[in-house]
């Protein structure tokens, strides 16, 4: 029901929080979605705080495992990850070594299927049918169906306990926008977790983002952390 004529104007709640307090809500054994594709969109500062606090037995869902000494690699090096759901870890030799040594379990997804599983989880769906990967190792253990005369695999939706999101701009209610290819998995994961923590390069007051500019609407977001500085990890990678 919307406010009637002459009713008082509401104010949207303020979700800004200290980073220590936001990350302390993550428990041992949590499943954690992490935005980013390579460097762009990876929430390096939230990851650093998670490393500092040291929560254990995490299942991490991220497109990639970053590179050595960047992002997710710090969680791996610190022994906090037991399971990784990902699409490609070729740029992180440590992740490959841990996988080959059996010290982390890795589940690979086709990249767009990972995106779609997260999207489905964020949309309150249980899964979807697809023919992607039918003829690959990735089809193993997935129920197959015949649909209109074609074979299709069941892909289950993914949700997480926590999503760690990097936004370009956020207002205090948690309306977000992303920039360039730093968008990638961020808006999808921001819909697919019970606790959504956002680090924002720029924090704006209410109204600072025009309604048409919002990529992720505030109701999906729980905690907004303003970045005090952009550390070297966010920089252009020198190869």
């Amino acid at each position: 029901m919307q406010p009637g004529y002459g009713a008082p104007r509401m104010i949207l709640p303020d979700k800004t929080m200290a980073i220590e307090e936001a990350v302390a809500r993550i428990g041992n054994g949590a499943t954690v979605m992490v935005g980013g594709f390579g460097v762009p969109g990876t929430p390096f500062t939230l990851i650093r705080e998670l490393v500092r606090q040291g929560q254990k037995d995490l299942t991490v869902i991220k497109n990639d495992a970053n590179e050595k000494h960047l992002g997710i690699d710090h969680l791996l090096a610190n022994g906090q990850v037991t399971r990784l759901i990902t699409t490609h870890i070729g740029l992180n030799p440590r992740a490959i070594e841990l996988m080959n040594a059996g010290r982390i379990e890795v589940e690979f997804c086709a990249q767009g299927i990972l995106a779609e599983r997260v999207r489905a989880g964020g949309a309150g769906l249980k899964g979807f049918l697809t023919d992607i990967g039918m003829d690959t190792d990735l089809a193993r253990n997935k129920p197959a169906f015949e649909l209109n005369g074609e074979q299709a695999l069941l892909e289950t939706a993914l949700r997480a306990d926590v999503a760690l999101i990097h936004a370009n701009r956020a207002d205090v209610f948690g309306n977000l926008d992303f920039t360039a290819t730093a968008r990638n998995f961020n808006p999808l994961m921001a819909m697919a977790a019970d606790l959504v923590i956002v680090e924002a390069e720029t924090l704006l007051p209410l109204g600072g983002l025009r309604p048409d500019e919002v990529h992720t609407p505030g109701p999906f977001v729980d905690c907004v952390v303003q970045l005090q500085e952009l550390t070297a990890e966010y920089d252009v990678v020198q190869r």
């Binding site: 390579g38 699409t87 070729g90 767009g112 995106a115 779609e116 697809t130 992607i132 690959t136």
Partner: protein, 217 residues
């Protein structure tokens, strides 16, 4: 890079026709774009969320938030668009991608592609490769004709785990242009300096030869 490889890449560029939406896989395929003339009407797509890719930039002028799927710092051009990963693969899976160019470990005579996994040696994950191979309207492969040990990469059947079945339409190698037809591999063009016999020797499956003069690239 050898002359033969450079000629292969230049020849592959002619596969891109005006108006196409094209995704160039990591590695050799990304070099194809260097052979397109300025102002050529084509839309390059990268699966991490950009259509309308502009030139690659050196680190000092790069935007830290703007990369392609291979991690190269790229730029935008007038008309570029950014989107999330679900939208990016919706574009691929729904048939909006006209052409993809991919690398290969092996290609079978039926057009099966293996390019993501060598059990026990190389298994970093497939990234977006499965969807590109399975759903692009046209799939062409750029590869050396043989592997580092001189063994054929074009085979009757793939021995490595597949990326997708019946997906490859055409193969550009350092020796030849070969099509995958319902009857198997068919030679279309020869690299400058390559002989029919050298191509037959380097191919691990029957190869149909054209009648008449064979074009050279």
């Amino acid at each position: 890079m050898s002359n033969a490889k450079a000629r292969m890449i230049a020849r592959a560029a002619r596969e891109i026709t005006p108006g196409m939406v094209v995704n160039l896989g990591i590695g050799l395929p990304t070099r194809v774009v260097d052979h397109l003339p300025a102002g050529y009407p084509v839309c390059l797509h990268t699966e991490n969320g950009l259509s309308g890719i502009g030139p690659t930039l050196p680190p000092e002028s790069a935007d830290r938030n703007l990369i392609d799927a291979g991690g190269a710092y790229v730029s935008t051009i007038p008309g570029s668009a950014f989107f999330d990963s679900a939208v990016s693969f919706a574009l691929v899976r729904s048939g909006r991608l006209d052409l993809t160019m991919l690398g290969a470990f092996e290609v079978s005579a039926a057009g099966d592609l293996a390019n993501w996994k060598i059990p026990g040696r190389f298994s970093p994950g497939a990234g977006g490769g499965i969807e590109l191979a399975q759903k692009a309207r046209r799939v062409v492969v750029l590869t050396t004709h043989t592997d580092r040990d001189g063994k054929p990469k074009l085979l009757c059947e793939c021995t490595l785990p597949l990326t997708a079945r019946h997906c490859v339409d055409r193969i550009f190698t350092d020796l030849a242009v070969i099509d995958v037809t319902p009857e198997g591999f068919a030679l279309r063009e020869l690299a400058d300096g390559a002989s029919i016999d050298s191509v037959l020797d380097a191919t691990g499956a029957p190869l149909a030869l054209p009648e008449g003069r064979i074009p050279v690239f």
